[in-house]
Subunit: 159 residues, 2 copies
């Protein structure tokens, strides 16, 4: 493995580690437990599952890895705060959707070369990327990995 | 900048982004506000500040970047849960310690070459590193960045 490959591989491993912990953490939660709030007046666990599914699903077009699987999750779990719209699916179905999105993303990540990780992401123009080449796919991966950790810190409080 | 340098630089930028948000988030908090708990029966904000200071301080020897600045924070904020031992300093002093540790770490991170990021960290033996070269400094950086995000997700609930 070259240095470039190892550097990119460590970032993908960090994503896989965090996603693995997330999926283990929610594995045992049924529909009823997913209705728990992380703290009084704060988001339900189900909202966090839907939120992570929506945010991760948006990575497909953003990273040029294909079409979204669940665009219908944006309205209830991203655009609007918890409690605004009804859940479009059960907690168990939502967990399954999150795992499906994560699994397909991870498979796509494992095929990217270091050079491809350094290409621009889909939310930056050619001009802006020329000025700031750090706005690349790898920066999005690290940002989304940390976003998952942020909400996992909240989810563990509901235990 | 070479590809290797850019890959390592994106990881350091992710650390700086997360640490920057952490420091902005706690900037306005006084001693009294730092006594708030993130949720009923959960850690105080001051415990999280001390915990992050201790964990980050341990990165100096672990990454071969020098001696620790605040080893006395391990007992109250790492080895023992919140509420076990008295705070050894005020919240304001603890915030200052955390910022000092972060600032010195970041300065050291910015000097490491991609090759140095791929060297083994201090908690792995030569034999184990030969078997698994992903146990390198970069893996520690990404892990600690996510650890910070995890606790920041909790800290924002205290608002």
């Amino acid at each position: 493995m070259t240095n470039e490959e190892m550097l990119a591989s460590v970032a993908v491993s960090s994503w896989k580690l965090v996603i693995g912990r997330l999926e283990s953490g929610i594995a045992e939660l049924g529909d009823e437990q997913l209705q728990k709030h992380v703290a009084p007046g704060k988001n339900r666990l189900q909202y966090l599952v839907g939120h992570l599914a929506a945010v991760h699903d948006r990575m497909f077009p953003m990273l040029g890895l294909g079409d979204r699987l669940y665009p219908q999750l944006d309205e209830p779990y991203l655009t609007n705060p918890d409690g605004t719209l009804p859940d479009p699916m059960t907690g168990t179905e939502l967990k399954r959707a999150l795992i499906e999105v994560n699994t397909k993303l991870t498979a796509a990540f494992e095929k990217l070369t270091p050079q491809e990780w350094l290409q621009k992401h889909g939310s930056v123009s050619d001009e802006d990327f020329a000025k700031d080449p750090s706005r690349n796919r790898l920066a999005v991966l690290l940002s989304r990995t940390n976003h998952t950790s942020f909400h996992m810190g909240q989810a563990v409080l509901a235990k």
